[in-house]
C-alpha cells in the first residue's frame, strides 16, 4: 500500500505493508535511529515521536495510520530553536545519563511545553510518566524541563 506523510518537514511516500510498525519504518527505511526500541509494547516511551503534534509510541503504531499526517522525530526536532533550549537545559540539569531514553523524553517535553509553556511540577511529572528511565531517578529530567520552560520563555 502506498503511504505518504510529512516526515520531519519533508514529504515522503513509500509502498509498504500498512501494518508495519512506524518504529521499524523510521529506523529501517529512513535510518532515523534516534527513535529507540526499549520494550516494543508501548510502555517505555523510548520510541516516542510526535504525530500531528501529539506524543505517540511509534512501536505500537501501524505506519498506515500516519498516512497524511505530520511525523516529527528527534532528528527533525533537533533542528529547532526549541530543541536547543531543551538540550541545553537537559545537559545542565544532568538529565542525560545513558541517553537511550533521552530523545523520547525530549519529544515528551516538547509535547507538554507546546500545550503549556509554564507547567508546574505535577504536570511535568504526569507528562513524562509515559517514558521510563532507569538511570536518573527522573528528578533531574523534571529539573531539565523546568529550566527549559524558564529559559525558553516565548518560544512555546
Amino acid at each position: 500500500m502506498k503511504i505518504s506523510f510529512v516526515l520531519n518537514g519533508r514529504d515522503v511516500l513509500l509502498d509498504t505493508d500498512p501494518l508495519r510498525r512506524l518504529l521499524d519504518v523510521l529506523r529501517d527505511e529512513f535510518n532515523l535511529t534516534g527513535v529507540k526500541e526499549g520494550c516494543g509494547e508501548g510502555e517505555c516511551g523510548a520510541c516516542s515521536v510526535l504525530v500531528n503534534d501529539k506524543i505517540m509510541y511509534s512501536c505500537i503504531l501501524p505506519v498506515g495510520s500516519v498516512d497524511g499526517s505530520r511525523v516529527l522525530t528527534i532528528e527533525g526536532y533537533r533542528e529547532t530553536e526549541r530543541y536547543k533550549v531543551l538540550q541545553e537545559a537537559f545537559t545542565e540539569a544532568g538529565s542525560v545519563q545513558c541517553g537511550f531514553c533521552t530523545p523520547g523524553f525530549i519529544m515528551a517535553a516538547e509535547a507538554l511545553l507546546s500545550e503549556d509553556a509554564s507547567p508546574d511540577e505535577k504536570s511535568i511529572r504526569e507528562a513524562i510518566s509515559g517514558n521510563l528511565c532507569r538511570c536518573t531517578g527522573y528528578s533531574m529530567i523534571v529539573d531539565g524541563i523546568k529550566i527549559a520552560s524558564r529559559k525558553g520563555r516565548g518560544l512555546w
Binding site: 529507540k36 528527534i74 538540550q87
Partner: protein, 775 residues
C-alpha cells in the same frame, strides 16, 4: 582543594549532546551490511531433558540459513559471568544443552535473512521434552530428595566449595571469636529472617549484539556490554577462536546495572557469523530480557545477635541462603558480598560467624545487580539494628553513630571475605558517616517526626525510617585498569581507556581527571573507550571500580604526560624543571614568568628538535577497596485501610570521597534510590506453579515512573580518600542499599509491623497488619 579546575566541578557530560540529539550510536543503531538475524527458542518448561529435537521444518522456512542446537554446537562448559579470569563462578553452562533448567533456558536458535523468518523458524523447531521434577523452593534445594539440577561434569576454575550433587553452587564459612560465649554473655537474643526477591535490571536498552568481519577477516563484535575485554576472552574460549581474531567494540550503552556484565548473546552472534561467514545480529525483546537474561539473586538472610542491655552486640551470626537459579553466575561472589560489605560496618563485634550457601533451583538465573549482595544483606542488617535500637531504647541514628566503623579502624571481615578468594586487610582512611547521618536527619526532619505517628488523613499515618550502608571501590588484588594518552599538534590529548561507560559518565569523569593533572579544560581531552583493538585493557564497569581504579590509571598516565611536558618545556624555556609548573594549557617558569603553550610544545616535539611524541600509558590495580558510606532516610505515609505505603520524601547523604563531578555523582545516587524504592515496593517476578514468570512486560512488572516518585534529596558529603586519585571513592552502587530497609523501618515506625519480606506491596503490608492485629 580549592584550586582544582576540573575535579569537583559539574562539567557537562561529554556525550550528553550527541545522546540528546539521538546521533550517538547504540548497538542496534550500527548499520551492519546484510546481517543474519537471530531468533532464539526458549524452554517452556522448568526442568526437562530434550528427548528429541527436529529442526527440519525450521530449516525449510524461506530465508533460514542456519539452525543451531546441542546437536551441532560444540560442548564447552563455561560461565556467562563476565568476571576476571579465572572466574569465581562455576563452569556450568553450555551454549546449548540437552537438558533445560528453567523456563527461559536456551534450546536452539535460528539465523535467517530477516527477523521475521528467524522468528517463524524457531516456532517450527519441534522439541519433545521428558519432564523432570522441578525444584522451586531454595530452602529444599539441599534436601536429599531434591531433584539434582547439574548432573554432568560442571566444575569450578578456582578452589571453592562447589557440590552440584547437592545443588550447592557455592558455600562460604568464616568466623572469629567465640560465638557461644558471646550469646551467653548477652542480655537478650534477637533472631529474625529477612527475604529479598527476584528483580530485573530493566536497562531501557535491551541486550543487543552484532558481529561482522573486517576487511582482513577478523571478527568484530559490537555489543551492549559492561565488560568488553571479558567478552573477547570468553567468546574466544567458548568458540575456540583465537583472541587475536576478535575485536570487541562497546558503543554507547543504554544502561547496565550489572545486567550487561553477562556474556549471553556475544557467543551466539560470533558463532553464527563465524559459521556462515556473514554478519549476524540479535536483539532481545523485553520479554526475553525478563525471562532469559539475569536477575537479582533472591536471598534469605537470618541474623542472630546477642545484645547487651546498652545495645552492645556480643555476638552476631549471619546465615544467608541464596537462590542462584539454574546457573551459578556470581553465586559465590554475590553471596560473599552479602557478608563482606555489611559485617565490617559494625567492626566492634568480637564474636562473629558468617555462613552462606548459594543453591541451584529451576528458576531464572541470578547475576550481578547494582549492590551485588550488599543490598540483600543491608535489608536484613538495617531492620535488625532498628529492632535492637528500639529494644534498648535508643534512637537508631545514635545507635549507628556509636557502633559504626571509623577512620583509622579496621575489621577482620575485610581479610576474611573476599570475592572468590580471601580479601585484603584494610584500614579505613576516610569515613564521614556521622556527618551523613546528621545532615540526612536534618534534611528529613528526623527528630521532629520519628515515633510521632503523625496522622496525615483518615486512616493514614506517617512514619520515619533510616538505613546506613557501605560498599567498596573495586575488587582489590583482582581488578586492573589501564589508560594511554598521546598529545596532538594543537595541545589536545587523546585519552584511551578500557573503562566502560555504560551511561554512568565515566568517559567524562576520566577526562576530568586527566584534564586536572594537565591543568586544561576537559574539552581538550578526546576520549575513546572500550575497544579491544584500540584501547588498553580494563576489567570493566562493575564492582564500583571505574572512578577509583580506572581513574587511578588515568591519573598515573597523565602524570607521565605532565613529566614529559615539563622536560620539553625546560629545554624550550632554558629553565630548571623544578621551577616549572602547568597552568591553563601552558608551562610557566615560576622564576622568570616565561611561558610556553602546549601547542608549541607539541609542535616542538613533533617537528622541530629531538623529535618524539609525547605519549604515555599506565596500569592501575588496587591493594584496598575503600568503602563509600551512605545514610538514607525515608518518610512514609501508610494507609491503614489498604496497606499502601507511599514514600513521601527520601533523603540520601553520601560520602563518596571527593566527588569528581557532583551532578553525575548525585545522578548515580538518585538513580539507585529510585531503582531501590521501586524494587522495595512494587517490582516483582510473579511465577506460576510451573516456574514460569507470568508478568514479563513493563505493564505488569511495574517500574517507577516520574509520577510515582517522592521528593528526593541527595547530599554529597565530601571526604578525602588518600588512596584514590584526587581523593575519590566509588558512588555507583551504594545508593540502592538503603531504600528497602529505610522504608521497612518507616513502615514499622508508622504502623508497628515488621516487613521481613520484599516487595512491600499494599497486600503484604495489610496482611502483616492483620497478623499483628493493628488495623
Amino acid at each position: 582543594m580549592g584550586d582544582y579546575i576540573n575535579i569537583g566541578r559539574s562539567v557537562r557530560k561529554i556525550d550528553a549532546l550527541s545522546l540528546a540529539t539521538g546521533a550517538d550510536k547504540f548497538t542496534d543503531d550500527y548499520e551492519i551490511h546484510d546481517p543474519l538475524y537471530i531468533a532464539i527458542l526458549y524452554s517452556p518448561v522448568a526442568h526437562a531433558e530434550i528427548k528429541q529435537i527436529d529442526v527440519s521444518a525450521a530449516e525449510k522456512v524461506r530465508g533460514v540459513v542456519d539452525v543451531l542446537y546441542y546437536g551441532n554446537v560444540q560442548r564447552v562448559l563455561h560461565t556467562t559471568a563476565g568476571q576476571g579470569y579465572p572466574e569465581p563462578s562455576p563452569y556450568d553452562a553450555l551454549l546449548f544443552d540437552r537438558r533445560v533448567r528453567f523456563v527461559g533456558d536456551r534450546v536452539a536458535l535460528a539465523a535467517a535473512e530477516t527477523r521475521e523468518a528467524a522468528i517463524e523458524a524457531v516456532k517450527k523447531i519441534e522439541v519433545k521434552y521428558r519432564d523432570l521434577e522441578p525444584l522451586f523452593d531454595m530452602e529444599k534445594a539441599m534436601d536429599e530428595s531434591a531433584p539434582r539440577i547439574h548432573v554432568d561434569d560442571e566444575y569450578t576454575k578456582i578452589p571453592a566449595e562447589y557440590r552440584p550433587e547437592q545443588n550447592l553452587a557455592a558455600e562460604i564459612k568464616i568466623g572469629f571469636g567465640d560465638l557461644e560465649r558471646g550469646f551467653n554473655e548477652a542480655d537478650f537474643i534477637e533472631e529474625q529472617s529477612y527475604r529479598m526477591h527476584y528483580a530485573s535490571h530493566c536497562a531501557i536498552e535491551p541486550h543487543t549484539s552484532c558481529a561482522y568481519f573486517d576487511d582482513r577477516g577478523r571478527l568484530v563484535i559490537v555489543t551492549a556490554t559492561q565488560v568488553p575485554f571479558h567478552v573477547r576472552r570468553i567468546v574466544s574460549t567458548v568458540l575456540d577462536i583465537p583472541v587475536m581474531m576478535i575485536r570487541v567494540i562497546k558503543p554507547r550503552i543504554g544502561g547496565g546495572f550489572g545486567g550487561k556484565q553477562e556474556v549471553i548473546l556475544e557467543p551466539l552472534v560470533a558463532l553464527v557469523a563465524w559459521r556462515n561467514k556473514r554478519p549476524a545480529k540479535v536483539v532481545m525483546s523485553r520479554k526475553e530480557v525478563f525471562i532469559s537474561s539475569r536477575t537479582r539473586h533472591p536471598m534469605r538472610v537470618r541474623l542472630k545477635t546477642g545484645v547487651k542491655r546498652d545495645g552492645r552486640i556480643s555476638a552476631i551470626e549471619m546465615d544467608c541462603l541464596m537462590n542462584t537459579g539454574a546457573y551459578g553466575t556470581h553465586a559465590l561472589t554475590v553471596l560473599a558480598n552479602a557478608g563482606g560489605k555489611v559485617l565490617p560496618l559494625f567492626n566492634k563485634i568480637e564474636n562473629l560467624k558468617f555462613h552462606g550457601r548459594s543453591v541451584y533451583t529451576n528458576l531464572p538465573v541470578g547475576g550481578a545487580y547494582r549492590g551485588y549482595g550488599a543490598t540483600q544483606g543491608y535489608f536484613a542488617f538495617n531492620q535488625h539494628m532498628d529492632i535492637i535500637a528500639r529494644r534498648t531504647d535508643q534512637d537508631i541514628t545514635d545507635f549507628f553513630k556509636r557502633w559504626h566503623i571509623r577512620e583509622g579502624e579496621t575489621s577482620a571481615v575485610f581479610k576474611a571475605l573476599g570475592e572468590g578468594k580471601e580479601g585484603v586487610s584494610q584500614v579505613i582512611n576516610s569515613c564521614k558517616l556521622d556527618e551523613c547521618i546528621d545532615r540526612g536527619a536534618g534534611a528529613i526532619g528526623w527528630h521532629g517526626k520519628r515515633g510521632k505517628r503523625i496522622e496525615s488523613g483518615r486512616n493514614r499515618v506517617k512514619g520515619m525510617g533510616m538505613a546506613i550502608a557501605m560498599q567498596g571501590s573495586g575488587i582489590p588484588g583482582i581488578d586492573m585498569a589501564a589508560a594511554s594518552m598521546k598529545m596532538n599538534d594543537d595541545g589536545s590529548f587523546n585519552l584511551y581507556v578500557g573503562a566502560t561507560d555504560i551511561g554512568t559518565g565515566s568517559d567524562t569523569i576520566l577526562a576530568q581527571i586527566a584534564a586536572e593533572v594537565l591543568k586544561i579544560p576537559v574539552e581538550m581531552i578526546i576520549v575513546l573507550s572500550s575497544d579491544t583493538d584500540l584501547t588498553p585493557f580494563d576489567t570493566g564497569a562493575y564492582a564500583s571500580s571505574t572512578t577509583y581504579i580506572s581513574g587511578g590509571a588515568v591519573e598515573k598516565c597523565a602524570e607521565d604526560i605532565k613529566n614529559q611536558l615539563l622536560d620539553t618545556a625546560s629545554v624550550m624555556l632554558k629553565a630548571e624543571k623544578d621551577s616549572l609548573k602547568l597552568d591553563a594549557g601552558k608551562v610557566i617558569d615560576k622564576k622568570t614568568g616565561k611561558k610556553v603553550p602546549y601547542d608549541k610544545i607539541a609542535y616542538h616535539t613533533l617537528y622541530i628538535q629531538d623529535q618524539f611524541q609525547i605519549q604515555a600509558q599506565a596500569s592501575c590495580t588496587a591493594s584496598e577497596s575503600p568503602p563509600p558510606f551512605i545514610a538514607q532516610f525515608a518518610e512514609v505515609d501508610v494507609d491503614r485501610s489498604t496497606g499502601k505505603a507511599e514514600v513521601v520524601k527520601f533523603v540520601s547523604a553520601v560520602d563518596c570521597g571527593q566527588p569528581v563531578n557532583p551532578v553525575l555523582a548525585e545522578g548515580q545516587v538518585e538513580g539507585a534510590v529510585v531503582n531501590g524504592l521501586s524494587y522495595a515496593l512494587c517490582e516483582d517476578y510473579i511465577f506460576n506453579s510451573k516456574g514460569r514468570m507470568v508478568n514479563p512486560r513493563f505493564w505488569d512488572y511495574k517500574i517507577y515512573t516520574a509520577a510515582d516518585i517522592p521528593e528526593i534529596i541527595t547530599i554529597v558529603v565530601n571526604s578525602f580518600e588518600k588512596s584514590g586519585p584526587f581523593g575519590v571513592k566509588s558512588v555507583g552502587e551504594i545508593g540502592i542499599n538503603g531504600p528497602a530497609p529505610a522504608v521497612a523501618n518507616a513502615i514499622f515506625d508508622a504502623v508497628g509491623v515488621r516487613m521481613y519480606e520484599t516487595p512491600m506491596t499494599p497486600e503484604k503490608v495489610w496482611k502483616r497488619m492483620k497478623e499483628e492485629g493493628v488495623n
